[in-house]
Symmetry: C2
Subunit: 171 residues, 2 copies
Amino acid sequence: MKYGIVIFPSKTLQDLANSYRKRYDPNYALIPPHVTLKAAFETDMNVKEITKKIEDIAKKYEPFTLHIRKVSSFQPINNTIHLKADKTPELEGIYDDLYESLPGEKPDHPFVPHITIGQKLSNDEHSDVYGQLRMLGVEHEEMVDRIHLVYQLENQSWTVYETFRLGKDHQ
Amino acid sequence: MKYGIVIFPSKTLQDLANSYRKRYDPNYALIPPHVTLKAAFETDMNVKEITKKIEDIAKKYEPFTLHIRKVSSFQPINNTIHLKADKTPELEGIYDDLYESLPGEKPDHPFVPHITIGQKLSNDEHSDVYGQLRMLGVEHEEMVDRIHLVYQLENQSWTVYETFRLGKDHQ
């Protein structure tokens, strides 16, 4: 099975992201707006073993603030336009722990927590859309108190297997 | 917010359902295949209060077998074609408890646990598609050990808020 680990932000933030994704993200219908903590990985590992590991990691980190300050782009690496989130010790810790304890190599590029709002655009589209969106003021804060293990179906869409609340008190 | 409570079955069953939903269910892209335990309900109730109630209900019921035996239709009430699941004491108990402890009226029609594979078809399409599908042998059993609280976004799609494992040992 192919798994991934993500944060689904609040409805407010998801609705905002979807208003752009609808037009600019071909994955719009495959998964709700999210922050990827561990990219898609294929494994035959027993799902109970996977959930146990994530549970242990989730326990180590208390709920934290997700702070979005701007629309950004990964150009020249790729033309993914995204809502960039500030790094926090919790985001970096969870990211590192997940890559250490589960199958799947860490990507070459450094961890930039974000919510994708546009991708697979042509260069012209990218300049055009990014030119418009970067001028938007985005300033949003919210608490993150849970992470989600998702798996991919044959049609490429993703289903949630389980949610994990952060912090010692929530287990 | 608008909430719902569902079971997401295994990948195998979801892939099977999606192979039909793709063509016959306009909600295909809005939510993965599911068994509805509590239909969409609008409430201002605090989400922590909602999750506490579902947690208490989930604890009362042990994991159980979901048994699918046939393709069926709700005609003449409506032309929803579905994989019909056998009733079990757990399904009926969870259904009754959810309606008793959360906002939203019980529907008039009795509870028929099912996974929708086609809906909003014209009468001609319905006869045609149902005529083909009812002849398919469907015989599938799997364990259900969790239920999901979902909420609806502005674009009508659904996001998982939290999963609840069934049974005393899993809390």
